[in-house]
């Protein structure tokens, strides 16, 4: 579903509209531009480029939206610092812990200031502590105004963070929409 929403995949039937953009009407190039400018993606397996440093991985996200070279470096350092990775910027993914790798992936998704963040099981490969930190980060980002669509098997985390939860099984809705408790978020 996230691949469809991010414009990586095309539906065999139906129509996808994201923030007034009908994805089916976009060309392959248009879809690439949509991903480059409006969408951030975080994957369960991080999908960092192994031979790039944390800084280079984050900078790569700005390669395709015409951000000038010095600006790319500045923004990448800024977001990594904000996510507590200032001393890990030159480390490669293999030298980072799972939590750090996921924060690098998060930095890569956020550095281009997307309108929507698609997160595919962002805590799936993290331990309990890192899962908690990630949940806090996502909540904070959401509070700052970022729309987040997250797929997770962690229902507790979903209840803690989400405004709206949709249950799916084998590609079909299995329970109706329900509102998140008011004490968690507005």
């Amino acid at each position: 579903m996230l691949n469809l929403l991010a414009g990586l995949d095309t539906p065999t039937s139906g129509r996808i509209e994201v923030d007034n953009v009908v994805l089916g009407s976009l060309s392959r190039r248009g879809l690439a531009a949509y991903r480059a400018h409006r969408v951030g993606m975080v994957f369960q397996s991080f999908n960092l480029i192994a031979h790039y440093s944390a800084l280079e991985n984050v900078e790569t996200a700005l390669l395709f939206n015409n951000t000038p070279r010095p600006e790319r470096r500045r923004r990448a350092l800024e977001i990594l610092e904000r996510l507590g990775l200032a001393d890990r910027v030159h480390h490669r993914p293999g030298d980072l812990s799972g939590g750090e790798q996921q924060r690098v992936a998060m930095a890569r998704a956020l550095v281009k200031k997307p309108d929507i963040l698609f997160a595919d099981e962002p805590t799936g490969n993290l331990d309990h502590d890192n899962t908690g930190q990630m949940a806090e980060l996502l909540t904070a980002l959401n509070k700052d105004g970022l729309t987040i669509v997250m797929v997770t098997h962690n229902l507790d985390m979903a209840r803690r963070c989400a405004h709206r939860i949709i249950g799916m099984q084998y590609g079909r809705l299995v329970e109706p929409d329900r509102q998140k408790p008011t004490e968690v978020g507005s």
Binding site: L8, A32, A33, I49, A61, L63, F64, R108
Partner: protein, 486 residues
Amino acid sequence: MTFRDFVTVSSGNLWRMKLRTFLTVSGVVIAIAAFVSMISFGAGNQQNITREFEELGLLFTMQVYPQTDKPTVDSVKAAVLDQAMVEKLAQIPGVTLAFPMNAFTVSVGVADTVIKAGAQALPKTATQTKLFSQLQAGTFFSADSAREAVVTEEFLRMAGNINADSIIGKQLVLTARTVSIDSGIAAVLPHKWADVRNEFDDVVLDSLRHREYVGRVARAKLGTAMARFFDGFVNSKAMICDTLTVCGVVKGNRHGWLRTEPIIIPMATALRFTSGGIADNPVDLFSSMSNGTLFGGGGGGGASYPQVTLQLDPKAPYQPVRDSVQAMGFRCFSFAEQFSKLRKVFVYFNLALGVIGLIALITASLGIVNTMVMSIMERTREIGVLKSLGADDRDIRLLFLVESGVIGTIGAAVGIVFGWLITRAASAVAKTLMVKDGFGEIELFALPLWLVLTALGIGIVVSLAAGYYPAARAARVDPVQALRAE
């Protein structure tokens, strides 16, 4: 992505796979080095010939010869290249100078040595042309009637490797033996009246009524007359001797269309040798009989020349001059025309060498294809990530194309240097062998700018062509599948 981004990212990827990149680039280096060294050989030879043409001013020189076809009974008499005709040729618009090739054989006494050498007469004006500009020592003769001579390097070798500077001012004793047709005719004619009467006494008058007897007597008398002619012709040789001072040494030209005889004598001074009769050698004799000048006197006023050289105005086109010469009934040989044909030959020669070099390059390009395909297979997931970050098909295609372009550029640049080093080594060996064999040091290889640029261009184009298929394949990678790839 800017071009700089593409180059940075691609170079980084290549640097990461050092060994594979090194091996792939090495293939291109070897291919380009082979291409450069082979074309360099063609270019070197072309440069040598062009230089020689320019140094000798051959592009502005035309050779004129009599027609080889013998005139038939009904045809007009073939045009003869005599002195009057030389002057006429000099009047053709676009011709700045006309001088004949007037060669003869002389015995030359220099110091204690006597050698037989070819000599040629040359007007002083001709010595100012580029053809004779390569003066090694001394000067050219001061006037057409000066008792001076210029010798070539070939003469110095014939005379026992004399030093060019040391021969200047030395005396050359030139001797020519000529035979005259007049002496043969004189021997046929009886010297005394009594001899005539004796001839008639031998004839039986009564028998003159018999046709057979008349025939026999006539044949016998004719045979005797011919014997007397040849006896007088061969044994009445005239010796012409003159002493000339060597005033200069020129490089000379030993072969080809513009062969220079070892001794060059001023035009008027040479008349003394050429007006005495036919040179005393069978070749000149038969040559005179063949071209119909046996009875035409010596090389003086009425002599015909086998060849006349025309010096052309560099600004005037040679075509009208050639047309005029042909209209006068002569054959001509234009060096400019030959040079343009030669250039075409060199183009084909270089093309043939280039094709051989390209075969090596095609083999190297297969290496590039292999490297790029391997790279794509290994980086499928990376391609998926880049697409998820916003890379479109064109970005991915360009990323891999630039990668193969970088391989080609580095390979071509190093290959050119490597090829140049090969030519330097080959040139050093060739020069050593040439000096050993008595040739001068000739540079057989050349690396002109056009060759450097062509090699660089071909290296890049071939590598881009090799990278096109893998790059297109990378661009077609489905990002969803790629992100799932291990």
